[in-house]
Symmetry: C14
């Protein structure tokens, strides 16, 4: 196997696994936060505005970890410095 094949193969594998593994925890964490938001709204409807606002800030923080993974995954596919080096 020459360098191009190896670097290409590795980039494919890691691009996929990074987003696959990296999407596990955010989805579970967000499910947990959303579930609790719904429970809180049912319990204290008058505070639904505060609850929604806090929920959205929290979801944004949690989603950020998924986005870190997505960014790395996209860099590996379309702006991979090692691929550019071996292809050059």
């Amino acid at each position: 196997m020459d360098s191009i094949t190896i670097i290409g193969m590795t980039s494919i594998i890691i691009a996929g696994l990074t987003i696959a593994i990296g999407s596990i925890a955010p989805a579970i964490g967000e499910g947990n936060a959303v579930a609790q938001a719904l429970r809180s709204i049912a319990q204290q409807p008058d505070e639904s505005n505060t609850i929604s606002r806090t929920l959205f800030v929290g979801l944004a923080m949690i989603e950020s970890t998924a986005i870190y993974c997505f960014v790395i995954s996209m860099i590996l596919l379309f702006a991979n410095p090692f691929w550019n080096a071996v292809i050059g």
Copy 2:
């Protein structure tokens, strides 16, 4: 094995595993959120509108992680830059 075979084989493996692994957590997280929404509606029927709206925003956030994986999976199958490089 030549480069085309290796890159093709790797793309198939990762395309499948990415969506397979990536669909685990969203499905569980959404099940968790939906279950809690149903519990909240049963507990506070008057707030079913607020609960539904919050639920749908939450499901969209959670589903987004599954969609990241589906996008990477589709890119690997139909717009794979490494495949195009070796096939060229």
Copy 3:
């Protein structure tokens, strides 16, 4: 092993594993949602319409992740671009 054998073998393996792994979480998530729907109906029979409607929307969202996997699995079996390339 020549290219045709390798690509064929890989497609079979991943087609099966994708739907096998991909069906784990939706089945558990749906079981969780259905179980909670039944509990909510028993608790608040008057809201069974709202509960059913929310349940069906939720099941559709959860089922969608299983369908992503089924789609990838079917593409690998019957519309596999890599197989078409090596068979050509």
Copy 4:
């Protein structure tokens, strides 16, 4: 090992594993849903019709993921495009 042996061996392995792995989650999810249905009937006997109807819809949704796996498994055994290609 020639192509026919490899493709045949792979098809047997994946046909079995797909339905074996794919039957885990539906069985657990259905057990969960049925158990909750029985609890709900004991708690609210007057709603046993609504509960049964919702249960059967839910079981059908959950069973569908097991059937996806069974379909792939049967395709691999009796309508396998890769086997037909190498046997030809």
Copy 5:
């Protein structure tokens, strides 16, 4: 190893593992459902008929996933198309 040995060996392995793995979840799911049925009967003896009927429908649904595995296992042992092909 010639083709006959490989296909035979693979069929034995998968026939056993399919039913072994495939019997895990139904047994646990049925145990869960039966346990809940007994709890419901103790709680609401007057509904034991409805509970039994729902239990048996549920057990049949759950058992079906074990039977899918048993069918695949039996096909691999006694009606294996790949074995017939290599033995011919």
Copy 6:
């Protein structure tokens, strides 16, 4: 290793593992069901007949998955079609 050794070795391995793995879930599921039956009898002694009857039907269903595995295990040891083919 010749064919007879391979097929014999594989049959021994799978015969043992099938019943070993296949006995895990039934034992746990039956333990769960029996434990709940005892709890129900203590709670509602007057229904001990109904409880026992439902328990025995349930145990039979659960035991059936262990028996599927035992049957496959015995077939592999004493009525193995692949062994008969290579021994012939």
Copy 7:
């Protein structure tokens, strides 16, 4: 390694692992059932006869799965058809 060594080695390995793995679940299931029986007797001493009887029937059912494994294990050590074939 000749056939006798391989078949002997395999029989030893599987005889041990079968009973080792096969004794995990019955011991846990029986511990669960016995613990619940003790709790039920403490709660409802007047029904200790019914509870004991149901417990012993249940323990016999659970023990049966351990005995299936012990039987296979003993067959592999002392009445192994494959060993007899290669030793002959």
Copy 8:
């Protein structure tokens, strides 16, 4: 490696692993049963005789699975038919 070494090495490995793995579940199951017995005695001191008797029967049943493993382990060390065959 000659036959004697292989059979000896395998017997040592399996003799140790069988009792090591086989002692996990009985110890946990017995700990569970004893803990519950102590809780029941504290709750219902007048029934301590019935509780002790049921506990000892249960411990004997659970211990039996550990003893199956110990028996196989001892057979492998001191009455191993395969070792006797290769040593002869």
Copy 9:
């Protein structure tokens, strides 16, 4: 494989895995903290300011561990001292 290929391949693999694994725990920990904040707001609306402030400090602490991983990942992709050494 020459040095450039090995160092490049390793950097890709670790850059992806570091952020993938490193995003698991922060997402779950943040989900946990957000869920509890929502529950606390519903329970004590008058303290929502103190709760929000404590939540944001906590999220920042938790997010910091994800950022450590992202930093290492970016260093490996774009400021890798070992890559610079071998490329030189």
Copy 10:
């Protein structure tokens, strides 16, 4: 590697692993039983004699599984029949 080295190496490995693995469950089971005994004494001080007696019988039963492992471990180190055979 000659026979003496292999048998010696295997004996060391298994002697260590047997007691290491075999001490996991008894320690946890005994911790569980002791914890419950302390809870029972706090709840029913007048029965501390009966509780202690039952605890010690139970600890002896649980410890016995650790001792089985210790015995096998010591046999492998100091009375190993296979070592004696190859050393002879």
Copy 11:
């Protein structure tokens, strides 16, 4: 592979894995502590100062374990004694 490649490759792998694995537990532990702080503030708002102070001391202790890992990771990347030795 020469020494420089091996030491470089190993340093990359371990630098990434150390911070990746080492950030799991602090994130979960901090999430746990923050969640409990929020619950305590909601329950006892008058003590929010004491709670915040104890929380920050605790977070610092927990964060220290993540920082140990980050330090080792940075040493491996930028002050690696083994790299300096082989590069010299």
Copy 12:
């Protein structure tokens, strides 16, 4: 590798792993017992003598399993019969 190296290497590995694995369960079991003792003392201060005495007996029993592992570990390092045989 000659015999001395192999036996020495194996002894080091197993001496370390035995005490490492063997210290897991006692530490957890003792933590469990101590925690319960503290809870019992808080609940029933008048019985703190009986509780302490039972705790120390229990800790001694649990510690014994760690000591078995430490003994085997020390034997392997300083009184290893296999090392003495190959060194002789």
Copy 13:
């Protein structure tokens, strides 16, 4: 690979893994202790001094296990006797 490379590579790997694995449990244990301290302060504010003091003693004990790992890790990087021996 010569001795220097092997010993260097091994030292890097173990230095990283030791602190990575060794920081898991202290972080979780400290999170657990801190969370409980906050709960106790909220419940019994008058005892916050005693609680803080006991917490800090406990945190020091728990942190000590992380420090053991950090010490070993630092010894392997900067005072490694085996490295000094091979470098000499």
Copy 14:
């Protein structure tokens, strides 16, 4: 690889892993015990002396298992009999 390299490499690996694995359980067990001590002090402040004393005895017992591992680890690094033998 010569003997010195192998024994040195093995000693490094096991010295690190022993303390890394061996510190997991004590940290968790101590966290558990400390958490319970804080809960008991909050519940029964008058007994804080007895609780502290019992806690410290318990922590010493639990810490002892970590110290066994640290001792073995230090022996392997600085008083290793096998290293002394091969270095001699």
